[in-house]
């Protein structure tokens, strides 16, 4: 197996530590997303994988090959840049077969390969066009085709969707994922968009302040966040502070039942619950039922956010808008239930940076 292994990777810029002790094994053929807010070190990590930055410490291995000191042009990992970095002086075809041309591949063969790749990214007939004559989505496809021309073992994408509008981004996420699955190429995508990461990745690496916060499948990351940062950054969550007790948490004078806790009674904790897990209505199960009042309503397409004033503070509940949806008005008094199994409890010291 030619897994890509990062072992104890660290990167310092003077006194600033951009990446700190990262240990990762990126499985061959899988798509891994490096996800985190701006400045968390994800792009620096990707650039170190590409060979564009040298790690201050640690090793980068591809299978048994140690790539740590190998320059970018000898690693030849295909990379798609945030701004696509297409060569403006070359046509689409010449951009795509650039790696082949400088490698001495005969012109006719290189052009034939370029046409194949352009067909792969659904850009047949675009070979003679200038880069300036392409739309954002087309440029991204050219960048992908160009990066794939050298048949790289590892495919790197640095925020490849950030220059695209919302509709095109959704389409390209699916297309890129399907293409990656078809080619079975080890791929690393850097993104700050958790939806993008959830859509595309086999595994997500959540980063913050140069550190890896959690590694897991999209479902694990979303449903079993390991700390408050991940719970806050991936999706949305309601947070409140409390104190751990035997089998419960004291929050604002209320005692909430929770899953078995590994906290010493009396320890300060931070509790999170996803908005879609907050239940409200007339026939609520026994659990953590608390009184609430509707203070704000926001329809967001297929769902509705209900902002509730509770003794714990403001809680957001998310409900699907369907034909059977109950009518709620501002000021309506309701009861909400916070199911014990839906409560995520973290140490209170866990930092929660503002998500981008």
């Amino acid at each position: 197996m030619r897994d890509l292994v990062l072992s104890g990777i660290r990167k310092d810029y003077g006194r600033v530590r951009a990446v700190d002790s990262v240990d990762l094994r990126l499985a061959e053929g899988q798509l891994t997303a490096l996800l985190g807010p701006s400045g968390c070190g994800k792009t620096t990590l990707l650039r170190m994988i590409a060979g564009l930055e040298t790690p201050s410490a640690g090793r980068i291995l591809l299978g048994a090959d140690n790539l740590t000191d190998r320059p970018a042009h000898k690693r030849k990992f295909g990379m798609v840049f945030q701004n696509f970095a297409l060569f403006p002086h070359l046509t689409v075809r010449d951009n795509v077969c650039y790696a082949l041309s400088i490698d001495g591949v005969p012109r006719a063969k290189a052009h034939a390969r370029a046409e194949e790749l352009l067909a792969l990214v659904q850009l047949e007939g675009f070979g003679d066009r200038r880069i300036g004559a392409l739309s954002g989505g087309q440029r991204q496809r050219v960048a992908i085709a160009r990066a794939l021309a050298q048949e790289p073992e590892v495919f790197l994408l640095d925020e490849p969707m950030s220059a695209l509008d919302a509709n095109l981004r959704e389409t390209m996420q699916v297309e890129l994922r399907m293409l990656q699955q078809r080619l079975g190429i080890t791929t690393v995508v850097v993104t700050h968009d958790q939806r993008e990461a959830m859509t595309m990745a086999d595994r997500i690496v959540v980063m913050s302040d140069g550190l890896v916060e959690q590694i897991g499948t999209p479902q694990e990351i979303y449903h079993q966040p390991q700390n408050a940062f991940v719970a806050d950054f991936i999706g949305r969550a309601n947070f409140f502070d409390g104190v751990a007790r035997e089998g419960s948490i004291d929050v604002a004078g209320l005692s909430l039942r929770a899953q078995p806790l590994n906290f010493t009674p009396g320890a300060p904790v931070r509790v999170a619950i996803r908005p879609e897990r907050v239940q409200l209505g007339e026939s609520l199960p026994d659990g953590n039922r608390i009184p609430a009042e509707v203070v704000f309503l926001r329809d967001v397409g297929a769902t509705r956010d209900i902002h509730l004033a509770t003794p714990l503070g403001t809680i957001i509940a998310e409900e699907a808008i369907g034909t059977g949806a109950r009518r709620l008005d501002l000021g309506t008094r309701v009861e909400v239930n916070l199911p014990p199994e839906a409560l995520h409890v973290f140490p209170a010291a866990t930092h929660v940076p503002q998500a981008a």
Binding site: A50, G51, L52, P71, A72, H73, K74, R75, K76, F77, G78, M79, F81, Q82, N83, A85, L86, F87, P88, H89, L90, Y98, A99, I102, D103, R130, I131, G132, A133, R146, A147, A149, Q150, L156
Partner: protein, 323 residues
């Protein structure tokens, strides 16, 4: 009352022809007085006639242009003295412009890789050197290359000249006009002329190339690296083609600037290899006092410069322009 009203029913305003403002008139008057009139006068004088033993008079004769191309005694005899001078004007200007750009390019490229603060300091320094006059620079080079106290003296005293003689390279230097029978010499020589001219325009070359190189998208360089391009391949296939137009433009601009170089050529060029700029000055203010002929040479120099620019532009257009 609605905030948005239908204005389609309003009568269309009749188009009015605006008279140029006094400010525009003054601007045009200044342009005509200081840019068009001097060129017009030079052109008009170039068709004038020299009065032997006196000044010149207005006329409409092509004799000055004829003299330039075939000499004053044509058809009895033909001389190409002034065509030779034109050739040296172009030759020096082309070589000096190319040397300046070829050496300024790597410097400017490395400059853009420095920190913002370091870049600012270098740019301020370069702008400061541009304030030095040609006379001042040539004086410095004159001392540096003088046979008695400059580089030839250093080479002699350090034994390099003797070593060059021992290994047989001195003879080669003599062939190139860079040595007299005893010593290495730079005055007078084509090398010294061209080097001084390059030195004169070098800061301009850096300042002209800097904006294009600092705008160069570094991610394209990195993209090429990830596709297997080593440093020289990146330079050849990405950097140079991307900045090709500014690069060529800088060469042409410096070329035109150098066509009129006077002091460097006067000091360093052999009298048989002097340029049209010297000849123009000699005709207008020097020994011959023949303003119409000087004006004709100036016009030919101007036309030559324009033709070279046109030729360059055509060549660039034929090789394709970047999007």
């Amino acid at each position: 009352m609605s905030a948005i009203e239908d204005t389609s029913a309003l009568p269309a305003e009749a188009p009015t022809r605006r008279l140029p403002s006094p400010r525009m008139l003054i601007l045009w008057a200044l342009i005509v007085t200081f840019c068009v009139v001097p060129f017009g006068l030079v052109l008009a004088i170039s068709f004038g006639q020299k009065i032997e033993g006196a000044a010149w008079e207005w006329a409409f004769t092509g004799e000055n242009y004829l003299r330039f191309f075939v000499g004053a005694d044509w058809p009895e005899s033909r001389t190409t003295l002034y065509l030779n001078r034109l050739w040296y004007s172009i030759y020096y200007a082309v070589i000096a412009a190319l040397i300046a750009v070829l050496t300024a390019f790597p410097f400017a490229y490395l400059l853009t890789r420095l920190s913002r603060r370091a870049q600012s300091r270098w740019l301020v320094f370069l702008l400061a050197t541009m304030s030095l006059s040609e006379v001042f620079i040539v004086m410095g080079w004159d001392i540096l290359l003088s046979n008695r106290s400059g580089l030839p003296m250093v080479l002699r005293e350090t034994g390099v000249t003797a070593w060059l003689k021992d290994v047989g390279w001195f003879a080669q230097l003599r062939e190139w006009g860079l040595a007299n029978p005893r010593d290495v010499k730079f005055k007078t020589s084509m090398v010294a002329t061209v080097l001084t001219m390059s030195y004169l325009v070098w800061p301009y070359a850096v300042i002209l190339l800097y904006p294009a190189l600092s705008r160069l998208d570094q991610s394209t360089v990195e993209a090429a690296r990830t596709m297997g391009a080593g440093p020289w391949t990146v330079m050849r296939t990405v950097v140079l083609p991307t900045v090709r137009l500014p690069l060529v433009g800088t060469v042409f601009l410096l070329f035109v600037f150098l066509l009129g170089t006077y002091v460097s050529v006067t000091v360093f060029a052999d009298p048989s290899q002097q340029t049209l700029a010297i000849s123009v000055y000699e005709a207008v203010r020097g020994s011959t006092l023949n303003a119409p002929f000087g004006a004709a040479q100036a016009v030919i120099l101007l036309i030559t410069g324009a033709l070279c620019l046109w030729l360059g532009r055509t060549l660039v257009a034929r090789t394709g322009t970047p999007a």
